[in-house]
Structure formats: C-alpha cells, structure tokens
C-alpha cells in the first residue's frame, strides 16, 4: 500500500519535473522599432480573450517597464461589458469588438488615446484604419489589434460544386451537415445578406424575413456552434459552416480538404480593438503596452501565435508567405470591398434579440 502511494507520488513528480522544463526560446523577440521603454512600475490589469496574446510578450513587457501585468481572460463581449459597467472596475486595458466600442464611446466610458505615446501606431495598415474609422471616428479611442471576416468553411470532398453564395447553406443536399454560428448578430447577418439586406438594418420587416429564413434552415442544420465547429470540421463531421476567418485558417492548417470563402453577397468584417477604460489607473503603462504590442517584430510573433489576421503592416512585411499568401488570412481589397462592419444598433437591438429568441424556440421542436 505504501509502495503504491510512493509509485503514485513518483509519477506526479515526474510530471511536475517535466512541466518545469521551460520552453526553448528560438523565436526572435527583439524590437523592430527600437527600445522605447523606460521604467514605469505599478500594476497593469488587462482584460482580453483567452489565448489571445503570446504570453512571452507579457514577460518581456514586465522586464522592460517594471510593470507587473495581470492578464485576465474574458469569454464574451457581453460579459466584458457587464464588468466594465460595474462601479469598481479595475481594468486598465481591454480588447472589445467593433460595435461594442461604438457603444462604449456613446456611453463615454473610454479614455481618448494619447497618440504621442504610441509612435508604433504608424505600423497599422491604412486600409484597416479606414475600416475602424467607421465605429471610432479618427481612431480617437481605439487601435485595431486583430481582425477578420465571417465566411463559409467547407469540406471540398463533400461539397464538389463551387461555393460562392450564402445560398448553399440552405441547400437540402447538405441537410444535417451545416453549422450555423451561435450568436445573434452573426447568424442574422448571414440571413440578411442572403436576402440582399444590410447587416446593420433598422427595418423590423427585414429582420423578420431574415428570421423566417433562419427558421426554414433549421431542419438542414447540424446545429448551432461556436468553438465546437472547429473540431467538427477538422474531423470531417460536417460539410459547411459559418465561421470566423481566423478559426477557418487554423482549421485549414489541420485538414487540407477544407476551404474558406467570403460569399459574393458580402459579409461582415470584424475588429477587436484595444481601448483604455476611463476607470484605468495606470494610464501610462496602458499606453506603453499598446505601443509595445504594435512593434512590428513583436506583432509578428503575436500573430504567429494567435493565427488571426493582424492589422500591423510591419508584421505583414515580416510574416512567412504561408500567412501572407492565404486569402483567408490576408484577403484582397476586392473581398474587403464586399464586407462591412457591425454597428451598434442602440435600442433596435431588441428587435434582433426577439427574432433570435423566436428562432431558438423554433429550434427546440
């Protein structure tokens, strides 16, 4: 019995020892835009999505500035909003998506960025700035961090016809093999686009029609998914899926039968931008961090880690052709011209929510 315990303990020790062996550093984490960092000190509390930064960067930032970084992960924009609204909000930096930023600006919850403290903002590609201006005029409060499109990921072995339209998601031939995205704005946007409407429509009839089409789609669906779509597609368990380009890109890396397309009717282009909430305590460090992640070389490393498209031109110049030559990762201007950004819908969002709720209860039957 004691022997048994000893064996178990030894096994645990082996694992712990194996775990202590740090990862080997071969990647280059030097500054491309020069070391611009002095000692700042204090704490920096960051709220960001899970696995949405190369943690090596945080370590380097801590060494450079003496700031102790607390990196907290969030799982949805809405949860983040709830936290930002709470009176004792502690975060100095946040990475919300486009229409949420519009909402935050309207509610006067963000601090204007001091561009003089962010010289590396020059690295951000012009065509990205044009897009983010739509929800943050003059990029006064935010800078793009990661971005992507919404499109169709499909299995070329199962779908032999050319895929170029949202219509294929309503094709009975693929009944039971279609994934719809489990999110109000994304799913309704797909249906709106297919009908030729604007994704930011304020017309209740159009939303209603889009909802009816979604209900018609139910018998053909494998289900509604988010993260689970990825592994399902990689394992050839579904033929078609609505997905974010970054996830599609990672899936295609794992299964060469997969392909991604932004349909001809157009689509949504989304941005996760970095912002400083008004409640921020260490504004100095927050600006330094924004500048730091926009260093061309570090942005490259970060992008290689996350696999989502980077808005950083410096990084685009440095990235491997594997990334740059992919239409999924780096879509052409022609594709982007078809895409538009989500806007905050104000109180009209209730119409969307009701439609979604109706769609969901139709699903249960």
């Amino acid at each position: 019995m004691k022997k048994f315990l000893a064996i178990v303990l030894c096994t645990v020790m082996v694992f712990v020892l194996a775990a202590c062996k740090g990862k080997d550093d071969e990647a280059d984490y030097s500054f491309a835009d020069g070391d611009q960092y002095d000692y700042i000190g204090g704490e920096l509390n960051i709220l960001n999505w899970g696995e949405y930064i190369d943690e090596e960067l945080i370590k380097i930032f801590e060494e450079e500035t003496g700031v102790s970084v607390k990196y907290v992960k969030m799982t949805s924009n809405e949860e983040m909003l709830i936290k930002l609204r709470s009176a004792d909000c502690v975060y100095d930096l946040c990475f919300p998506s486009d229409y949420i930023i519009e909402q935050l600006i309207a509610a006067d919850m963000l601090l204007p960025l001091d561009k003089e403290k962010i010289p590396n903002a020059k690295n951000i590609a012009d065509r990205m700035i044009q897009f983010t201006e739509v929800f943050d005029p003059g990029n006064k409060y935010s800078l793009p961090y990661m971005w992507g499109t919404v499109g169709i990921l499909y299995n070329t072995k199962m779908v032999t016809e050319p895929v170029d339209s949202w219509n294929i998601l309503w094709n009975e031939e693929y009944a039971g093999k279609i994934w719809q995205y489990d999110s109000v704005r994304d799913a309704i946007a797909v249906s709106l686009l297919r009908l030729g409407y604007d994704i930011n429509t304020r017309n209740a009839d159009e939303v209603d029609k889009a909802k009816d089409e979604l209900i018609k789609q139910i018998p053909l669906l494998k289900g509604l998914g988010t993260d689970n779509i990825r592994s399902s597609m990689i394992n050839n368990k579904a033929a078609l899926a609505v997905i974010y380009s970054g996830d599609a890109f990672a899936c295609m890396d794992e299964n060469e039968d997969l392909a991604y397309v932004v349909p001809k009717e157009g689509s949504n282009v989304w941005f996760d931008n970095v912002v400083i909430p008004k409640t921020a305590k260490n504004v100095e460090a927050a600006h330094a961090f924004i500048n730091f992640i926009n260093d061309a070389n570090l942005a490259t490393r970060n992008c290689e880690f996350i696999y989502y498209s980077t808005p950083n031109q410096g990084a685009l110049d440095r990235l491997d052709p594997f990334f740059i030559e992919s239409e999924t990762f780096n879509p052409s201007d022609e594709i982007l011209s078809r895409c538009s950004v989500f806007h905050d819908l104000g109180s009209f969002v209730e119409v969307f929510n009701n439609a979604w709720s109706e769609f969901k209860s139709a699903m249960g039957n």
Binding site: S76, N77, E78, E79, L81, I82, R85, I100, Q103, G176, D182, V184, L221, K222, G223, L224, G225, N228, S231, S232, N235, K237, V349, N353, W356, S357, E358, K360, S361, M363, G364
Partner: protein, 269 residues
C-alpha cells in the same frame, strides 16, 4: 442552550449572502436604466414562448431525475449492504470524476460522442445533437448527487428491521417496498432536489452536446442576461429567474402537502 442556536451563524450568513443578493433580482426586474417600470416584467411574463421553454426544460429535468433515481438507487442499495468503510470509499469514488473540471468533462464527452464512438462503431454520422445524448450527459453530471444522499439514508436503516420483516414472512420484494423504500424517502427527496432543480437550469450541456438545438430554460436566462445586460438591462433575465423561483416555491408547497411526515419533518419541499 437550545439547539436552534447552532443555526444562528448560518441565518446571518443566509440573509447577507443569499437573501440580499436575491433582492437585487427583484429590484432589477422592475428597474430599467434607473426608472421604475413594469412593462418589461409584464412582456416577459405574458410571452407564451418563455413558458413553453420552461415546460420543455421541466420535462427534460424530470427525465434526468427519473433516470438518475433508477440508476442510482441500486448503486446506493448495493453500497449500503457492503462494509461501511469500503462503501464510503466507493461512494466517494463516484464523486471523484466531478473534481475534474466540468468544462473539460463536457468537452471530452463532446469529442467522444462526435468522433470517438462513431469511429469505434464505424458510423458515418455523429451522436451529438440528439436528445438521447443531452440526457445521457445530464444524467452523467447529476448521478453522483443522487447516489450520495440515497446511500447515506440507506446505510442508516436499521438492519434489524429488515430481518424482522423477513422473520415475519415477507419476501424480498415485499420487504423492499414495505420497509426499505419508505424508510429511504428522506434520501430520495434530497436526491431529487439536488438533481431536478439544477437540471432545469443547466445550459452548457444542451449547448455543447445538443449542438445548440435544445433551447432550455437555462439557455433562455443566459441569453437574456448576456445580450441585454451589456446595455444595463437586467429586467428580462431577472423576471425569468423570478418565474423559476416561483415555480420552485409552488412545488415546495405541493410536496409539503404530500409529505405528511410532520414530526420527523425537516423537509425542504
């Protein structure tokens, strides 16, 4: 010193950390953006779709509870007839899987039902997205919470009662239904509470195992809170929770009515 004094620390705790947070729910159900209004409350209450979802969820939770009881009772019974230390150890073994994180467990089930099992059986499709799969994983998650209270009560039953029943000529089946089952009612009630009520509001399992096809009450509340609370509107979500609370209180009253075990009481239902 009266024994009820022992409950005082808890009562203080309960008021501070259970009752007061609950008041927030009631407050936010009638307060949208700082103004008092009953419109949200009423529009939610009068929406038949919400009630339908509640009904579907209650049925699902009921099925889960019945399956847990049918699977769990024999386990608890077998354990109660084993040596106490061994049985105690095994009953904890039934709990150990729950120590490994819920999210990981559900992801594992998802992988098993989506690829592993179909692959093993040489199936074309997958097993996720069916009611059977959702029920199975719900039963999986709640079974230990049924076994534990059942085992505790069954282990406590005086064995001489069973012997007496046998001596008086009752056969095994009769002894079970006349002696053992009635005596294990407190455990059954505890088990049902710990399974049925949380099962109504489970939302991760229907989303991940049911491929989002089974919209249960928990999902409805989650959706209401998540999509609206960003705007500072907690009214719909709060109202949905209040409906649920009321339903529980009603079922409590009904159960109290049936549970005539006044003296031995201590019932929650």
């Amino acid at each position: 010193m009266k024994r009820r004094v022992f409950a005082y620390p808890y009562i203080v705790w309960m008021i501070l950390f259970i009752a007061v947070p609950m008041l927030f729910i009631f407050y936010y159900a009638v307060n949208v953006g700082g103004t008092f209004t009953l419109t949200k409350l009423w529009s939610t209450l009068s929406d038949p779709a919400k009630w339908k979802v509640l009904w579907i969820s209650v049925v699902m939770a009921f099925k889960t509870t019945v399956i847990c009881l049918l699977l769990g009772y024999p386990i608890a019974y077998i354990l109660s007839n084993m040596k106490r230390t061994v049985a105690g150890f095994i009953s904890v073994l039934f709990f150990v899987p729950m120590w490994m994180n819920f999210v990981l467990r559900t992801y594992a089930w998802q992988a098993i039902l989506e690829y592993f099992l179909p692959g093993l059986l040489g199936m074309e499709g997958t097993l996720t997205g069916t009611e059977g799969a959702v029920l199975m994983v719900l039963v999986y998650n709640f079974l230990p919470f049924m076994i534990m209270p059942l085992y505790n009560t069954l282990a406590k039953i005086d064995k001489s009662l069973i012997e007496a029943s046998r001596d008086l000529g009752a056969n095994g089946v009769k002894t079970f239904f006349r002696v053992i089952l009635p005596l294990s009612v407190p455990g059954i009630v505890s088990g049902i509470t710990m399974v049925f009520i949380p099962a109504i509001t489970a939302f991760t399992v229907p989303a991940l195992i049911g491929n989002g096809k089974y919209n249960l009450y928990g999902n409805e509340i989650e959706l209401a809170f998540k999509t609206l609370s960003g705007q500072g509107d907690y009214a719909v979500g709060s109202t949905l929770s209040i409906i649920l609370l009321l339903c529980v209180f009603v079922s409590t009253l009904i159960m109290n009515h049936f549970d005539k075990d006044q003296k031995q009481g201590g019932q929650m239902w």
